[in-house]
């Protein structure tokens, strides 16, 4: 099978102007992946599925990964002129920078017809709060239907073009996204606002407080 670089070159020739980068996997498995820009992602996915030399007809696994912003300290050597007039000094300067935060969706594609794979493709959201849209690949591979719903449910990635984007594992009224790294689970899952409290409050208004029972005499 072609390497990730070869696939990227072929895709760039076919889709000029698309953003495609190879994300190298430093691990021993060496399963490198292709990071696709959102505007062309679905067209590229369709091409990967229908291309006769690749024919990635099965999207086996879809998953989300949460990458919150992380502080990275770069140590740089800087030459500083000595104010006293001596030779310039070389000092180490520590620059803090934040890596961008985003949510990532990873697809593992295999070809059943040609028995090869995996080709790993990724799409990324703009950030983790208000730009969480990525194109849905469900119109290309039906297997993404439930799995993208799961990523939406647990990570909060919104898939545009998904035919039925609802929560799948958590219940419908649930607010947060449990698989995010900064998720804090509530202290009490059982608590919910029941009408009981309102009934009690109303009861206080309607009925005067009952006089306290007299202290039992010793």
């Amino acid at each position: 099978m072609e390497t990730a670089e070869q696939i990227r070159d072929r895709l760039l020739a076919r889709f000029p102007g698309a953003e495609i980068t190879v994300v190298t996997n430093p691990g021993l498995s060496a399963q490198h992946s292709l990071l696709l820009g959102s505007p062309h992602a679905r067209a590229i996915a369709q091409f990967l599925r229908d291309d006769p030399t690749l024919r990635l007809d099965q999207c086996s696994n879809v998953t989300g990964v949460d990458w919150p912003e992380k502080e990275i300290i770069d140590t740089v050597k800087v030459t500083v002129p000595d104010p006293a007039g001596g030779p310039p000094k070389v000092i180490e300067q520590k620059n803090k920078r934040l890596t961008p935060a985003y949510l990532e969706v990873v697809y593992h594609l295999y070809s059943i017809a040609l028995r090869h794979g995996p080709v790993v493709i990724r799409t990324r959201t703009g950030n983790r709060s208000d730009q969480v849209d990525v194109p849905s690949l469900t119109p290309v591979w039906r297997s993404c239907e439930f799995q993208e719903r799961e990523v939406f449910d647990l990570f909060g990635v919104s898939f545009s073009g998904h035919p039925d984007l609802r929560r799948i594992l958590m219940w419908d009224g649930f607010k947060d996204y449990p698989m995010r790294k900064d998720y804090v689970d509530p202290d009490d899952y059982e608590w919910e606002p029941t009408p009981h409290d309102e009934v009690l409050a109303r009861a206080k208004v309607h009925y005067p407080a009952t006089p306290a029972a007299p202290e039992p005499k010793a």
Binding site: G27, F146, M170
Partner: protein, 389 residues
């Protein structure tokens, strides 16, 4: 396989007329489950019926959701191994193997030959008990109350005794380790396994005499829940459900993981993709598993069962990611792991075969009756511990 050029994925969600319709008559909405015994656990189907015909079916699940993946990210690599038993609690040995395989890919461990043989023996025994149990439950769903299930469980009991003798637990085996297995097989264990395997075809013959030619069973299952190979491939189906449609895709042959290339076995495939084919595929697969088991028990080599490089505790794989998958009894079970060099995985994802096989439940059930939906669900073979994670 999808012909090239076809634009969209096959998506058959029919447009349904409004539930309240004075002119055509109202549709009936039935919520089947989550406590219905035929749903194999806590699983719910929202079924819309036009007369008796299903016109829409939406599966609802998540009742057993405990965010297994988050638990996996908060424990060490080894600490997740017992949790994988609880995914598909009928097939803990194959879950263990899939997870061990993914970590081995990540950490570069190679299990020795004897460990690979042990894994194959245990995985095939798991396939036997899963398939026979499934057929028992499927019969239960068709209304054949009790007898086939008890036959299947009688055999399952013997295999579980073997698992207990080996790992200390009948269902939650927690047996595989990264780079090998936890304890070695004894000669006595191998002898009793051999006796079991040699007697198993007799049970299968008995089972098949009872079911395969049964007229009522054939009438209930043939032509019911037909699935096309194009949709099956596109919807990510794997395992017996995919092979019943006629696609010869078995990871034991395709990925050739473990030592499967050394074994002589065939991959049975179906012709119609209906419920009867899904039943038949499982019977045939059990016969092939018996073949594999006989070869493995015959050729079991002596030697160590752990990779000497393997570290049980404090495993810190190099930063990177790996996706490892095996052919479980229900389909492709895979684990996707991202390591950042710490003792816990940064991302721990399970690819659950029963969850993804449920994608086509609606397509299979449309046009059939509720009684057929029960059988179709039974033939897909789900375990809710794995669907909900």
């Amino acid at each position: 396989m999808l012909a090239s050029g076809s634009a969209a994925a096959p998506f058959s969600s029919a447009s349904v007329r409004p539930v309240h319709d004075e002119f055509h008559g109202d549709l009936l909405e039935v919520s089947m489950g989550p406590h219905h015994p035929s749903t194999h656990g806590v699983f719910r189907m929202m079924v819309t019926l036009d007369g008796e015909t299903i016109v829409r079916l939406k599966p609802v699940f998540g009742y057993l959701h405990r965010n297994h993946e988050k638990l996996g990210e908060n424990t060490t690599y080894l600490g997740s191994m017992p949790y994988t038993d609880r995914l598909d609690y009928l097939c803990s040995m194959t879950n263990n193997w899939a997870y061990a395989l993914a970590v081995e890919k990540l950490a570069g461990l190679v299990p020795p030959e004897r460990a690979e043989y042990i894994r194959i023996i245990l995985a095939e025994l798991t396939r036997l008990i899963n398939h026979s149990g499934l057929i028992g439950f499927l019969m239960q769903d068709t209304g054949c109350s009790g007898t086939p299930l008890m036959y299947a469980f009688r055999e399952r009991e013997k295999v579980l005794d073997l698992f207990e003798a080996l790992s200390g637990s009948r269902m939650m085996c927690n047996y595989q380790r990264f780079g090998g297995c936890r304890v070695d097989l004894t000669p006595a264990w191998v002898d009793s396994a051999r006796r079991l395997v040699d007697a198993f075809p007799r049970f299968l013959d008995e089972f098949e005499a009872l079911l395969t030619g049964n007229e009522i069973f054939m009438a209930r299952t043939q032509g019911v829940g037909r699935l096309s190979p194009e949709l099956a491939v596109n919807a990510g189906l794997t395992g017996p459900v995919l092979r019943a449609t006629g696609v010869g895709h078995d990871l034991r042959k395709v990925d050739a993981y473990g030592l499967y290339p050394r074994f002589d076995f065939r991959v049975p495939i179906g012709a119609h993709g209906d419920t009867y084919d899904r039943y038949m595929i499982r019977v045939l697969e059990m016969r092939e598993s018996v073949q594999i088991l006989q070869q493995a028990l015959r050729d079991l080599p002596a030697g160590p069962i752990m990779d000497p490089k393997a570290k049980l505790r404090g495993l810190r794989p190099k930063a990177g990611e790996a996706y490892g998958r095996i052919e479980g009894a229900k389909g492709e079970i895979g684990f996707f792991l991202i390591s950042d060099g710490s003792p816990n995985p940064y991302r721990y994802r399970i690819r659950p075969p029963s969850f993804i096989n449920l994608t086509v439940l609606e397509d299979l059930c449309l046009g059939h009756t509720v009684a057929d939906a029960v059988i179709i669900l039974g033939s897909i073979d789900i375990v809710l511990g794995e669907v909900d994670r």
